[in-house]
């Protein structure tokens, strides 16, 4: 749990801003929100080959290293397989077994891995941290990234070398040598866990830890280096899967009816509600210092609900929870890919593989939250790959 103490300035009570109605995607959804450096599309650390880095960026922390306490920070646990590309090594593991895999890793110890799907997300988290430190130099309310891997500690050296190479500011590691990482996730008070292994993600969700499975895509649109953008599906991600159950069991009409009848009843919370909450708390820190307009964190709701009808319940629920979301896009069933391509989030959470794949096809990094009724209907589930 993230406990934060904030200056209670300008805390808006859950009014949803920038309500967007998009019956069809046409790319004009920016509206009044000013563009500027959010779309700085230059070098972004998205290379498929490791760069030859000569010098290291100087740490912006004076007086030695500064590590937040886990209970104060927003802890993001990332698996090595999503932070970096490790397909080659996975192949070795599966075809030749664990001993050969470890030998291979040690042999290639000084070759850094290439960035994986979670890499831009992590870079963006660090950018936010930089801004937070500028404004609140003594605060521990920061993002804290922990590398959690099933690997044996032999491989640790290669991972640490890679992190140095890419100039990532990750200092906390958990190399569990094959033991389940779930106990450690709890010990670190993890707010979000990203892994390539759907089983581990499910285990984490069952323990109440927000988690999602990430996949490598070949196409990757460039994303902002200075503004962290996180997009969420609504049902079964931020909210419970209650409404989806109705939809799947009884069809669209029944779904609308149910939503209308229950408009004033709050939806139950979903697995990623807590994470959105954590993001919101950090956002308020920026608002408190007058940085509402250029806040380096931006959140999006991208839902198949439609604004005029079923969307109302979603908005009311968010408001009642005291959660702000910067942009809400009600697609009324339209495909999400094109909209996401316009938003360019660093990560998009959805409970349905269909949408995850659709997003990936258009170059958005999408993460699957294996929660709720939709899992029974996931026909195109990717199988988890070994370790």
């Amino acid at each position: 749990m993230v406990k934060m103490s904030l200056d209670p300035l300008q805390v808006m009570s859950g009014q949803v801003k920038e309500l967007k109605v998009s019956p069809s995607s046409n790319g004009d959804s920016r509206g009044s929100w000013e563009e500027k450096e959010e779309f700085d599309q230059d070098h972004l650390g998205l290379t498929t080959k490791p760069k030859l880095v000569t010098g290291r960026r100087a740490r912006k922390v004076e007086g030695g290293v500064f590590f937040p306490k886990p209970e104060n920070a927003v802890t993001i646990a990332v698996s090595s397989r999503v932070l970096f590309r490790t397909e080659r090594e996975q192949e070795v593991y599966q075809q030749k077994g664990v001993e050969e895999y470890l030998r291979y890793q040690i042999e290639h110890e000084n070759e850094p891995f290439a960035p994986g799907p979670a890499f831009p997300f992590v870079k963006a988290l660090e950018a936010v941290n930089t801004r937070l430190r500028e404004l609140y130099p003594l605060s521990e309310e920061l993002f804290d990234i922990v590398l959690v891997t099933y690997n044996h500690a032999h491989v640790g050296i290669r991972l640490i070398n890679t992190i140095n190479h890419h100039n990532l500011f990750i200092e906390r590691f958990c190399m569990t040598g094959g033991s389940s990482p779930i106990g450690y996730l709890k010990a670190w008070q993890t707010n979000l866990y990203l892994s390539a292994d759907a089983d581990k993600v499910r285990e984490a969700l069952a323990e109440g830890i927000a988690a999602a499975t990430m996949f490598m895509t070949e196409k990757l649109t460039e994303v902002s280096e200075s503004q962290l953008r996180v997009a969420f599906d609504g049902d079964a991600v931020l909210f419970s899967d209650e409404s989806e159950r109705i939809f799947k069991a009884h069809g669209l009409d029944k779904f609308f009816e149910h939503e209308r009848d229950n408009e004033d009843t709050l939806l139950d919370h979903g697995p990623l509600k807590g994470f959105l909450e954590a993001l919101g708390k950090l956002q308020k820190k920026f608002y408190a210092k007058g940085h509402r307009l250029d806040c380096p964190i931006r959140t999006y709701l991208v839902t198949a609900r439609s604004a005029a009808s079923s969307g109302i319940r979603a908005l009311k629920t968010l408001r009642a929870w005291g959660l702000e979301i910067d942009e809400a896009l009600f697609l009324a069933g339209a495909p999400k890919g094109p909209m996401l391509e316009k938003i360019r989030p660093h990560i998009y959470f959805d409970d349905q593989m269909f949408h995850v794949e659709g997003a990936a096809e258009m170059g958005t990094v999408a993460a699957h939250v294996p929660y709720g009724i939709a899992q029974k209907h996931n026909l195109k589930q990717k199988s988890s790959v070994g370790k």
Binding site: K69, G156, I157, I170, R172, G177
Partner: protein, 412 residues
Amino acid sequence: MVSTIQNTDVKQKDADRALVVAVTSRAVFESGADGDDVYGMGVAFPLLQALQRVNKRLLEENPAESLLFDVVVITTDSQQQQQSSRIISSTRHYGNLTLTSSSSSSTRHYGNLTLTISSSSTRHYGNLTLTLSSIIHYSNLTLTISSSTRHYGNLTLTLSSSSTRHYGNLTLTISSSSTRHYGNLTLTISSSTRHYGNLTLTISSIIHYSNLTLTISSSTRHYGNLTLTISSTRHYGNLTLTISSTRHYGLEVSRFCFSSEEDFVESLQKNNVQLFLSTDSNEAPQASQKGVLSALLDRQEAPSEQLRVMFCGDDVNRPDAGPMPASRQAAQNFSAQLGEMRQRFSMSDSPLRIVLVTSHGGRESCGALRTLRSHGVNVDEAYCLAGAPRSPILSVVRPHFLLSDGFSGLED
């Protein structure tokens, strides 16, 4: 005046190659009532059992293995020093009692099978495992286990049968004069495709037996592991059980050192002890100052069966400021030998696990990993805390003890 006694029940280890671990008697045993001739199991018991398991697996991999744990029980104060006979008999007392009766070739049924285990022990068994399996049904199966005045460590009863017929009457009585509880009592009855006739299960623990008798034909003194096999190609009418002991272990302690607070450190040095384990926070630093690697033992919630050694890597990479202190050298030697032992096993399914924890970040810990690797220690798990508190990680890893340069303990 230190006296060192060898335990003749246990095969002595190769002095040059074995990894000598000394544990204080107060850590191994818990004092019970004074009248008892045997102690209770102490804080270090799970650790000793884990060490024994590693030895057992090492010998399975290579029967001629000489790199084994060599356990020494040492007393560190004069009061304990006086208790030598009690310590020795306690050591011999504990072990595993296993009884197996199987009748896989029997094509007929048992008439009555009566199994009686009773014990002259006034203390508990380490583990009591009883397995009965048969492919034909029992008509009457009566099982009576009665014994000790204290609790069992683990009491496991398994009755299984691929019988397609049912048990006639299955009566299971476990009673004990114990005024305490059983450690773990596991009862599994599985099998038959039909129902049991009458199944009566009674566990009672209220009455006090005065005499309990266990007859073992080869030894009238101590017992440790007991293996019994009964096989039959015919049916039994009445089965009477005779137990004959073929070997016994007790705790795998090779030596006892009876020293006092003044001379125990000297005793450690004379016995070439490479690791000293104590529950006393004064004793450990004393030994460490004289160059003996020491660690503090603490009671554990749910000790694992796998031996888990945790290295605290904060000092591992310290640049040498001068001649290496004796304790640092001792730590290096111990870890190198432990590393060698670890390599006898595969990545998964090892009875020994090496864990590194550092309070630094990943960058500095890289050095610790490399240093350990250069000493032949391949670490299984590594946690770089970068300033986060250690106790949550400790409660997940549950190491048996924590080592750093010279002295360290399980405290945060």
